[in-house]
């Protein structure tokens, strides 16, 4: 099928249809059945064809006239702009939160040009939308506690932050039901230690003895539980898809450009410098991000001053593209970004006699968790696998035998009503798992001057996203952290070997 110019095609097809015209064809084949009515009919067909051709021709001319977006220079729709100030790789909740805060902090309209590049507009494999959606302050690191607390304050006042004029109000369906951590004998010391840290930082958490626990939650079986910590305020769960869309809608209304494409490489320049002790080191600066269009081989370089790596589970791959980690082991050049995807399952089951409305997100000391889902007796549950049980992450297929063997027995043990449950649904999602210390990576890279990280959250990114977005925006626009000092999450700790560990990881 070759393309003629639109105007010419109308005329040519008109001519070809003349050949297809029945009267001419019949004349050519020699079949001649002359009756006046037949001839009249053939003439009518001829006139009708002629009229159709005129209609088509008029339509084609209308397309060419000014006011239509046809142009002889065909331009691929949806290309990213040729230059932007800040390119955010990854359109999950971290990327859009950073974009929103960048636009909120610019003092003047259109102060910075921000482009968010997301390769999958359906978010079919993104960690954000497949997340269980919980938010808690029960961490052991004070930075994590504050990140979650300030994010919770943001989410409680989400109307005034993310409301767009003339659009529907934002509702993330926040269920403030709290988190309940149960500890056996070995873990009780850690739990109480964490409780003290959390209280010091201002989180509203209480410790419960087994008797108090039984009184408060009669459906629970306190066998093996020595102490429990329950979050009273700013803890619960919400719908991550609604939060993502709220951030996205608000950011786009503030002028952030969105592009559907995949970052496949970078154009960068290298500069050799010398350290104090005479070792030569090379600094890279990203000049352009090369974005490949979906389902196409066409690439568009986007010139950028800064790049934010918020690619979630695939941040390691994006870091590889710029050469982070290409170097001898043990050197700064050879330190990779230790983020890889890890698959986690979430199972939805129905239990009519279950805990009911008064059900927090309950986490067992065997790392089994469940929470209420909706108001119809459905629950969401799962379990963090051990290192040996770690599923392979090439696809998002669900392993139902894991539920039968590992999750259900623990659930049934903890909540006797769960002995009779019916598994309704299940899905799998990725953690952007930080293999080093399972905590966030926020800040710049020492050798790539203009790449910022906002990744590696290992399962607790969604709940920290508003505060992390603000922190990255402060780092970019103000030059340093202002509200929260997240210097502990810097990349350099991977080189130095100082782990920033959480004491209870789910």
């Amino acid at each position: 099928m070759f393309r003629l110019s639109r105007c010419g095609a109308g005329a040519v097809s008109f001519l070809t249809s003349l050949h297809r015209c029945p009267c001419l064809r019949s004349r050519g084949l020699g079949r001649v059945a002359f009756s006046s009515s037949a001839r009249a009919r053939r003439r009518d067909d001829f006139v009708k064809d002629l009229e159709n051709e005129f209609v088509k021709f008029r339509q084609k001319v209308k397309e060419v006239l000014p006011g239509s977006d046809w142009s002889p220079l065909y331009q691929t729709p949806g290309l990213p702009p040729e230059r932007a100030d800040i390119v955010i790789v990854g359109g999950g909740v971290m990327g859009w939160s950073t974009a929103y805060w960048l636009k909120k902090k610019e003092a003047i309209r259109e102060g910075v040009r921000v482009v968010v590049i997301e390769r999958d507009p359906t978010y079919s494999r993104a960690s954000t939308v497949l997340s269980v959606g919980g938010i808690r302050q029960q961490f052991s690191l004070s930075e994590n506690i504050h990140l979650s607390m300030q994010s919770a304050h943001f989410l409680r006042n989400i109307q005034e932050h993310l409301n767009v004029v003339n659009e529907d109000p934002v509702d993330i369906q926040f269920n403030p039901s709290g988190y309940l951590f149960l500890a056996g004998k070995e873990e009780s010391g850690i739990l109480e230690e964490n409780y003290r840290i959390q209280r010091d930082e201002g989180a509203a958490v209480i410790l419960l003895t087994p008797q108090q626990l039984q009184r408060k939650f009669p459906w629970i079986n306190t066998d093996g539980v020595v102490v429990a910590s329950y979050g009273l305020e700013n803890e619960g769960w919400f719908d991550p898809w609604l939060l993502l869309n709220a951030f996205r809608r608000k950011a786009i209304s503030m002028g952030v450009y969105q592009c559907h494409g995949e970052v496949v490489g970078f154009e960068h320049s290298t500069r050799d410098m010398e350290t104090d002790d005479g070792r030569s080191i090379s600094l890279k600066r990203i000049h352009r991000a090369i974005v490949r269009m979906p389902n196409s081989a066409e690439c568009q370089p986007v010139e950028c001053a800064l790049l934010v790596n918020a690619a979630g589970a695939w941040s390691g791959k994006v870091a590889d593209m710029i050469g982070i980690g290409n170097g001898p082991e043990g050197t700064l050049e050879g330190t990779k970004l230790p983020v890889e995807p890890r698959k986690r399952y979430a199972y939805v089951f129905h239990c009519p006699n279950g805990p009911g409305l008064e059900c927090p997100l309950c986490i067992d000391h065997k790392r089994t968790y469940f929470r209420r889902e909706g108001l119809g007796g459905n629950y969401l549950g799962g379990r963090s696998p051990t290192e040996e049980e770690e599923p392979e992450h090439s696809d998002l297929e669900v392993d139902y035998t894991y539920f039968q063997e590992a999750v259900w027995p623990n659930l049934a043990h903890r909540v006797p009503a769960f002995e009779s449950l019916k598994l309704k649904n299940a899905w799998a999602g990725y953690y952007d798992y930080n293999t080093f210390d399972q905590n966030a990576i926020i800040g710049t890279h020492p050798l790539v001057s203009n790449m910022f990280f906002a990744t590696g959250f290992s399962g607790h990114g969604l709940q920290q996203s508003p505060a992390v977005g603000r922190a990255v925006a402060e780092l970019i626009l103000d030059g340093k952290f202002k509200t929260l000092d997240l210097g502990a999450f810097d990349f350099i700790r991977f080189y130095k070997g100082t782990k920033v560990l959480e004491n209870n990881i789910v």
Binding site: P81, D85, R109, G111, L475, K480
Partner: protein, 459 residues
Amino acid sequence: MLKILIPTIMLFFVSWLTPKKWLWTIITTHSLLIASLSLLWFKWNTDMGWDFLNQYLGIDPLSAPLLILTCWLLPLMILASQNHMYMEPIIRQRTYIMLLISLQTFLILAFSATEMIMFYVTFEATLIPTLIIITRWGNQTERLNAGTYFLFYTLMGSLPLLIALLIMQNNIGSLSMLIMQYSQLDLTTWADKFWWTACLTAFLVKMPLYGVHLWLPKAHVEAPIAGSMILAAILLKLGGYGMMRIIVMLNPLTKEMAYPFMILAIWGIIMTSSICLRQTDLKSMIAYSSVSHMGLVAGAILIQTPWSFAGAITLMIAHGLISSTLFCLANTNYERMHSRTLLLARGTQIILPLMATWWFLTNLANLALPPTINLMGELLIITSLFNWSNWTILLTGFGVLITASYSLYMFLMTQRGPTPQHLLSIYPTHTREHLLLNLHLIPTLLLILKPELIWGWTC
């Protein structure tokens, strides 16, 4: 005259025949030689009249400073473009240089033309290389839009000028600038008013006057550095020069008909300076500052007093040098960070202190600090405007205030403040960049020692 013109035309062939290794060095050296030769034009043998005269070309105290500025700017443009043209294929580099040289030739012919039609033809001819430079080597997709605006605004303005010149040729018989002012044109009829407007529209659009200034921010921002430099420094002054040449013919209508344009010009000073305070793009800010200064010049030319003409020429030269310096400074930022946004290029004084000195000097000159020639020009203009009408002092004074505030804002935003982390490893300033900025600033600072050179023929 030919001693400058023939070497400039020869530079065409130099740019195509030089081997790749020596291209930029040779072009820079030759154009510097031509620039130093052009300083001979400052030696006026006659006091107020035409010098270096031949049948077609001549120099008078109005065109001499502008011509010397044009010749001076070519080596500076070549110096500035060296970095971003480095990566291009050699043929494109040669084409780029050829475009700059052809622009230079047309500008020399335009400023030294003694006949109005020759001036008009070369005035229009300068559009073509500029358009090609903007649309081919500009940085963003908006450059096509910018080129269209630039081309059509100027063309729409200058078509009436062609007709007006032809009418004049028909009526008077000659369009030579040497005898134009002696022809007694009695302009009284309604059609004469149209003729008056037709004469001036092209130059007012080029200056630009506030109402028809939309092409300028677009063209300046989207052009590459050499394009921005030549646009800001010289092409705007073509408008001012043309106005000053033709306005001697336009009496006595100018007394009444100038009013709407005076209002636009002086009000434009305040409006465009205020827009500067809200700009996020550094080059856009410098472009609007150009409109603001040129508004003063337009107002001065329209009132036609000796001091105002002197002030207009002085401010044109001063603004040409300083505006070009500002664009070079913005380009040094852009080449390192690939972003012109003010919010991202902050606090560079700590990392590049000598560059901060040049930023400081340039911004001080931009806000017309004594004893720069910018102040001399602005003072002459503001005083003559005050003489023309006492009320203008309110507007021009307010304009000076806002000019000072946005110049300081530009300095404080780019130099002071917290240095962002991603700027800590940018390349230090090249010697070439220091040379470029000093070759702009030294004439600016030296001219105050002998300002008679740029006062024109009225003082």
